[in-house]
């Protein structure tokens, strides 16, 4: 098969950018091999050894070579795509020409967009407080994507915001939908009567997605950051968000999502919720919902239950009972005698937390999510017994993107788990939406196939249970992703809670 080359003189990219470009081009139809490398002699030699006939291309070590092996039409398309991607990664300008300076401060940006009333801030944590304070002093609400902001700074920022009748969403706030505009990691959902305030990014994503799937819609989804309901911060942003939704005529039902807060904070929030005059669905993950249910407050056990209750209330129906059952699909392969354990590999922190919470009553569970009776992992890179891992933990994301974006860590771990004869069920989440990987199924499928081959070659069953958090409005497409994953044999549940219970019930007979 012929190889077509393009030399881009004096073009500099780092190795990750070039590897990603090579990988993307290699996946294009009709392309057998693709490579983007600096034009050093050893790289040219490497391409020749890989079977790419690049001929005597005129190139120097400081030039970028894009080589495509494939039919002519496909190579032409791939080279065109390469140029498009390279130009979109950063355009060159004429040497010495005048530059239009980007805005260097929130003040400068506000001068260009006078009607803006929210600043999204994503800087290293040590700068984030100062920038958030500047934004607040300019009268802007703040979504603070940055993490590594101290509790004292968070409390100070939120008190300043409260005094100015503003809100600080965050720090470490990854999800919000404001006036129908998804911010950061969020999904395309219908607008509707249900408002949510959440101290959990993937918790907010799961509830907004399930509300959409159940036929209702979201008025606002306000993130608070996971530390908001600590005693130090006092739930200031959740209280502000609750007030916004109470006053918002578009919001008929309010949903509050958090891990269990300190008692005095919970009392304060529930007090305001009772006084809101609107039905309020509350999920304090891991806490007993009966303890808070009463009057207009409806406690929920899982994110799915919270969504179901909210939608039922929005439709004027009676809140449904908790959905605790799992229906095992027919034709499950028989587990080998040694196959006993669940291995959950999660990209969503709240999904891992909820999985740990739901499993720990039925089995010993190791996790890096510290929940109740869960046991710590001696080595987070190695599973022991039943294990569920939040791959978004800082330990895993150092030097690489979050696992919702970059699936390599998870795909490697899937293959690693398949080599363990003790694994009975692989449990996964797949998160769609803005910010997430463009095609999660394409990332997962090769690893799932390899894992299945490993297990079956050794006479073991390979069972993978998962759920896709997303909608058909998301650019990845819920239906397309689900279909592709189901075709590999993945058993797809409608929610994280259902997937976890399914995995639990598959493993339970083997215990």
């Amino acid at each position: 098969m012929p190889t077509f080359c393009e030399v881009i003189p004096r073009e500099y990219r780092d190795s990750v950018a070039l590897m990603q470009l090579s990988a993307a081009l290699a996946k294009m139809p009709g392309v057998a091999q693709a490579s983007a490398v600096m034009g050093t002699e050893n790289n040219l030699s490497l391409l020749r050894q890989a079977g790419m006939d690049i001929g005597q291309v005129a190139i120097g070590p400081n030039d970028l070579l894009i080589a495509i092996q494939g039919d002519e039409a496909a190579a032409g398309e791939a080279l065109k795509e390469a140029k498009t991607r390279l130009s979109s990664q950063g355009a060159k300008v004429d040497a010495g020409g005048p530059l239009e300076m980007p805005p260097h401060s929130i003040g400068m940006a506000l001068a260009r967009h006078e009607d803006a009333n929210l600043a999204m801030i994503s800087t290293p944590g040590e700068y984030a407080t100062a920038e958030a304070l500047k934004a607040l002093n300019l009268g802007l609400n703040v979504m603070l994507f940055s993490n590594n902001v101290s509790g004292a700074d968070e409390a100070m920022l939120k008190r300043v915001a409260r005094d100015k009748d503003l809100i600080v969403m965050g720090p470490d706030c990854g999800t919000a939908i404001i006036n129908g505009i998804p911010l950061a990691f969020a999904n395309v959902v219908k607008r509707g009567p249900i408002g949510a305030v959440g101290a959990s990014g993937t918790g907010l994503q799961e509830i907004t997605v399930l509300v959409d799937r159940l036929g209702s819609g979201i008025s606002q989804a306000i993130g608070t950051g996971g530390h908001d309901l600590s005693a130090e911060v006092g739930g200031i942003s959740m209280l502000t968000g609750l007030k916004y939704l109470t006053d918002d005529p578009e919001t008929k039902i309010i949903t509050l999502i958090s891990k269990p807060p300190a008692k005095e904070i919970a009392d304060q929030i529930l007090g305001k919720a009772r006084a809101s005059g609107k039905p309020v669905v509350v999920i304090f993950l891991g806490a007993d919902p009966k303890a808070i249910t009463g009057g207009n407050i409806h406690g929920a056990t899982t994110l799915e239950d919270a969504a179901r209750i909210a939608v039922a209330l929005a439709k004027g129906e009676k809140p449904p009972a908790a959905n605790g059952a799992a229906t095992l699909p027919a034709g499950l392969p028989k587990l080998a005698p040694g196959q006993k354990y669940i291995r959950g590999l999660f990209s969503g922190g709240t999904f891992c937390f909820q999985a740990t919470m739901l499993l720990q009553s039925a089995m010993d569970i190791h996790s890096n999510s510290a929940v109740g009776k869960s046991l710590p992992l001696a080595d987070m890179f190695k599973s022991e017994g039943n294990t569920v891992v939040d791959l978004g933990d800082d330990v895993f994301t150092r030097g690489r993107p979050h696992p919702m974006i970059d699936y390599r860590l998870r795909t490697e771990r899937i293959v690693q788990e398949a080599q363990d004869p003790g694994m009975a069920v692989l449990l996964l989440d797949v998160v769609l939406g803005f910010g997430s990987n463009a095609d999660p199924a394409a990332e997962l499928i090769p690893a799932l196939k390899k894992a299945r081959q490993i297990a079956e070659k050794e006479g073991r069953a390979f069972i993978c249970v998962g759920h896709v958090c997303g909608t058909d409005g998301d650019h990845q497409g819920l239906a397309a992703q689900s279909k592709a994953l189901a075709e590999t044999g993945m058993i797809l549940a409608d929610s994280n809670a259902q997937a976890v219970r399914l995995a639990r019930d598959i493993v339970a007979p083997a215990k």
Binding site: S15, M19, S35, E41, M101, G107, Y244
Partner: protein
């Protein structure tokens, strides 16, 4: 809250200055001292490379980067790619580097000189070096499992998919090990020639590996024979450095002058001194955080060079 527009502007430490001034923290010992004009050759978020009109080379690094011998490190951490463009003219006068028509100025007046502290013969206690080399090797082996560096995985002997690059590198390591042990400089240089410029990015992984390997040889060079071998390797690599990109050639040239990056130098010195396991782990993490895989590739070279000193080293 009535969100109308989301501000997505660059947030920096510049405040509202129209022509920001950045203050340099340190100046590397190999930064050209006499030059007047140059051009920006490459720009990344945390680094910017300048080629001077007389073919000198220097890098501007943000404050969170480690020092390098040809680098000027800033006191702050602006996103350089938001302010500097490839091809932009740069001038140097009165201790100031000015980009374009004063779009950005780097003030050098307060900066301190910096050079790498690692040098041959710094440690002559072979037993202690062996202990810490073993710990470092174990930590790097653990890190290899979560690294994207094919060099590090190969040196750590982890299972990895067969790729043309991995296969080629794999074929070089055994002869390099033999040459290192026998101090056969001709064979070693012949093998290194196959690695220079090998790898996709601006600083190809093969070059980073060689730099780490030279650092390891420097750390362990306590005898006259070892120092002579190191000298021969440095001279041979320096002669071959033009087979790679300009930026990487500069890094190789620094290493051949025994001027290693701050993080690599600190890691080597920690291996040589009696530093705790925890310190080594932090220094290894810092080294691995350099670039996409550059830090890990250099760590692979270091690990490879030290394998004979580590108590669990290769026996082949």
């Amino acid at each position: 809250m009535n969100v109308q527009t989301v501000i997505t502007g660059e947030v920096s430490r510049f405040g509202a200055l129209a022509s920001p001034i950045l203050w340099a923290d340190t100046i590397g010992c190999r930064v050209p001292e006499r030059w007047r004009k140059g051009r920006v050759q490459a720009v990344f978020e945390r680094a910017c490379h300048i080629v001077t009109d007389d073919r000198g080379f220097l890098a501007i690094l943000t404050g969170d980067c480690g020092n390098v011998a040809h680098g000027i490190r800033l006191k702050t951490r602006p996103r350089l790619n938001a302010h500097v463009r490839v091809g932009q003219h740069v001038s140097f006068a009165d201790n100031r580097i000015t980009f374009g028509s004063q779009n950005l100025t780097v003030e050098l007046a307060d900066a301190e000189a910096w050079q790498s502290e690692l040098r041959p013969g710094l440690f002559d206690n072979g037993l202690r070096l062996g202990n810490h080399a073993t710990i470092a090797r174990q930590l790097l082996t653990q890190a290899a499992a979560r690294s994207d560096s094919e060099f590090l995985k190969l040196v750590a002997r982890l299972d990895m998919p067969s790729t043309p690059l991995a296969d080629l590198v794999g074929r070089q390591l055994a002869p390099l090990k033999t040459a290192q042990r026998s101090r056969d400089h001709a064979s070693a240089l012949a093998t290194l020639a196959n690695l220079i410029g090998l790898g996709p990015g601006l600083t190809p992984a093969g070059d980073d590996f060689i730099i780490g390997w030279l650092a390891g040889l420097t750390l362990s060079a306590s005898t006259a024979d070892a120092k002579l071998f190191l000298q021969e390797m440095c001279e041979g690599v320096a002669d071959r450095r033009h087979a790679t990109t300009t930026v990487s050639a500069q890094h190789l040239d620094d290493a051949c002058q025994l001027q290693f990056s701050e993080r690599l130098s600190n890691l080597c010195i920690a291996i040589g001194r009696d530093r705790s396991d925890t310190d080594l782990r932090a220094l290894i993490d810092a080294q691995l955080a350099i670039g996409a895989t550059s830090g890990a590739d250099a760590a692979a070279g270091l690990m490879f060079a030290l394998s004979d000193l580590a108590r669990d080293g290769d026996s082949d």
